[in-house]
């Protein structure tokens, strides 16, 4: 297990380096720093203003090789955008936003709290509700309940997330006035009201796909031989579901959670933006609308980092949950 872990983390680190290279190509090689400067400063400034802006934001160095230095001088390679990019990203030195010059790190710190307060409940409720519903449906498989729920899942899956948000805001926020349409409060006891609707919308929009997937897993497990053995021992259907099927189904479910982790970031993007929650998602949307490439770069990097970390964690928990992997 230990060797597996080390290999896994090692590969994750290499992947991070790969992602950073991809970001470099996208944000420095493909994008023209002059364009970024122009968007930030305005179209009609003098060339010196552009040059100064680029210098201040670190865009004024050559991409890969700095020929200003002699061969043999290490600064030939280190005083480049590539090296700088790697150094800063790996040391989490994110610099300033291209749009408003604020310190990105500070904005990150401010945004983390609200984001987590949205995504953690979203994830937890979504998972628990999905598993419970799927268990219920799997118990009643091939009956009318099962078919009805499956049809419902198909319908709910086919509705765009955007529409859930819009109709949620309209129906519950405007018509029924149960929760505020948007906004946020930092005090925990006030934040609940503002988070209720986005969490509700987020859970409902994803539940269809989840229940279908988990149901398939549960039903597949129910058809296995060891379940037949359990029944032959005298286990009732309920016990079969909870003590045997669920325990085994957790393994494939865990691996599917990896796939849902990125949706925590991107789903939060929409939710935060629509519901006015000042988290990292809102920050990203602002960066898009403001052509703020440095912030966008940072957000993509962090997204990838968290995703890779999430994958490693999931792999580890998978290995812990399955004794066949753990004990070899």
């Amino acid at each position: 297990m230990g060797a597996y872990l080390i290999r896994r983390v090692g590969y994750g680190l290499i992947t991070v380096l790969g992602v950073l290279f991809l970001l470099f190509v996208l944000f420095f090689a493909v994008t023209d720093p002059d364009d970024i400067a122009r968007k930030a400063v305005g179209e009609r400034a003098r060339p010196e203003v552009y040059a100064l802006w680029k210098k201040n934001h670190g865009y004024d160095r050559p991409l890969l090789l700095n020929r200003a230095y002699a061969a043999g001088d290490s600064r030939r390679y280190t005083d480049t955008l590539l090296f700088d990019h790697y150094r800063r990203m790996l040391t989490f030195d994110f610099g300033n936003s291209d749009a408003d010059d604020s310190l990105i790190a500070r904005r990150l710190k401010e945004g983390m709290g609200p984001s987590l307060s949205l995504t953690v409940p979203l994830f937890a409720f979504g998972l628990v509700l999905g598993v419970l519903l799927a268990l219920f449906v799997a118990f009643f498989r091939e009956t009318y309940i099962d078919r009805a729920v499956l049809v419902l899942c198909m319908l709910t899956m086919s509705i765009a997330g955007l529409l859930y948000i819009i109709s949620g805001q309209y129906l519950i926020g405007m018509l029924l006035k149960w929760f505020p349409i948007s906004g946020f409060a930092f005090e925990p006891y006030l934040a609940g009201r503002f988070l209720a609707l986005p969490v509700l919308v987020g859970v409902v929009s994803g539940i269809g796909a989840d229940v279908r997937l988990y149901r398939t897993i549960f039903v597949e497990e129910s058809n296995r031989d060891y379940v037949r053995t359990a029944r032959a021992k005298g286990c009732g259907e309920v016990r079969v579901m909870l003590a045997h099927v669920l325990r085994n189904a957790l393994i494939p479910i865990l691996s599917n959670i990896v796939i849902t982790i990125p949706f925590l970031f991107t789903g939060a993007l929409l939710l935060e933006s629509f519901f006015g929650i000042p988290g990292l998602g809102s920050l990203t949307v602002e960066a898009i609308q403001g052509n703020d490439f440095s912030t966008l770069r940072t957000m993509v990097y962090l997204g990838a980092l968290l995703f890779i970390a999430g994958q490693i964690l999931t792999d580890i928990s998978y290995a812990l949950a399955d004794p066949r992997v753990r004990l070899t």
Binding site: R224, R228, A232, G234, C235
Partner: protein, 327 residues
């Protein structure tokens, strides 16, 4: 003779097909006496496993036991029991082991916990007492170092050991009947002999009757007291082991035994039964073996044979045999 432990009468099992429900097992009759080992022999696809599952009321969903059937066990018709009552029977009065030990054990629970469940479902006791019982059971089925093996996971055990664990689970509550569905088919030849010997020993020690399902006459020879031969959803001949192996009367049983390769017969042509087993839904009217039977005559095509008693223990479902007996 005392009443049989298990008496299956007129068992009919149906499954849905494109043309409606078809019978996979039809008018099957079977009895097992207390403490005896009955081998149910037949080719793959004749319905033996389904019969076993039906006795346990574990027939997979689309299948159905038709109302005309009757399964009497220890004086009660199992088909009429309520669900909780049947659950008490399963694992309590009747135990069952399956063919594939690899997949028949829960991979994420320890072996000991699984046997524990078999006990705990039927008799509530303290955890330590239950643990002791499990260790005893593991020892009884011949697992070396049972206390240590308690916390082993199935994937850490060999096929033979896994099957022993299955037997321990099935025998946990000293059932009166053990149903073994091809328990040794997936095991090596040497292990096979050990498992069969274990089953024989347990049956002898605990007085448990055994319904052994197999397609292998070698297995029959080793542990069966009585044999029932099954073809196309019904029993065609039954009798003691000696009777069936030395003088079978039904043409199908005769054909089966003749086709077993013998070293003495080397150089001669290998005997076979011509034709193939008809699929459920395509059974001919009348005797189902008639199309392949070398001795078939008119009545065989028209009428399904009844049981002809040949001795106190042997019986055959065959018109020819009936004719021979009555002349």
């Amino acid at each position: 003779m005392s009443a049989p432990l298990l008496s299956v009468e007129n068992l009919v099992l149906t499954f849905p097909a494109e043309t409606g429900r078809i019978a996979v097992v039809d008018k099957l009759n079977l009895t097992i006496a207390r403490g005896e080992t009955l081998a149910l022999v037949g080719e793959s696809g004749c319905g033996k496993s389904l019969t076993a599952l039906a006795i346990m009321r574990l027939l997979p969903k689309p299948g159905r036991v038709e109302a005309s059937s009757r399964i009497e066990f220890d004086g009660r018709n199992l088909l009429e029991l309520s669900v909780p009552e049947m659950r008490a029977v399963r694992g309590g009065a009747i135990g069952m082991i399956f063919q594939e030990p690899m997949t028949s054990l829960n991979p994420v629970t320890t072996v000991g916990d699984q046997v524990l469940e078999a006990v705990w479902l039927h008799e509530k006791m303290s955890r330590s007492a239950a643990r002791e019982r499990v260790v005893e059971l593991l020892h009884m089925v011949g697992i070396p170092d049972p206390r240590a093996r308690f916390s082993a996971y199935p994937h850490q055990l060999s096929g033979g050991l896994k099957q022993r664990v299955m037997i321990a689970m099935a025998m946990a509550m000293r059932p009166r009947l053990l149903i073994a569905d091809e328990p040794t088919t997936a095991l090596d030849a040497t292990i096979r002999a050990q498992i069969l010997a274990l089953l024989r020993q347990l049956s002898f020690d605990t007085g448990t009757a055994v319904l052994l399902i197999t397609h292998d006459f070698g297995v029959v020879n080793e542990i069966a007291d009585r044999v029932a031969v099954m073809y196309a959803g019904m029993i065609v001949e039954e009798g003691t082991r000696r009777e069936l192996l030395s003088h079978p009367r039904h043409p199908y049983a005769q054909g089966l035994l003749k086709s077993i390769p013998r070293p003495e017969a080397r150089g001669n042509k290998l005997l076979e039964i011509k034709g193939v087993v008809p699929r459920p839904g395509r059974w001919p009217p009348g005797c189902r073996f008639a199309p392949r039977c070398p001795s078939a005559f008119d009545r065989c095509q028209a009428e399904l044979p009844h049981r002809t008693t040949l001795s106190s223990s042997q019986g055959a479902w065959c018109h020819l045999v009936e004719y021979e007996v009555h002349t």
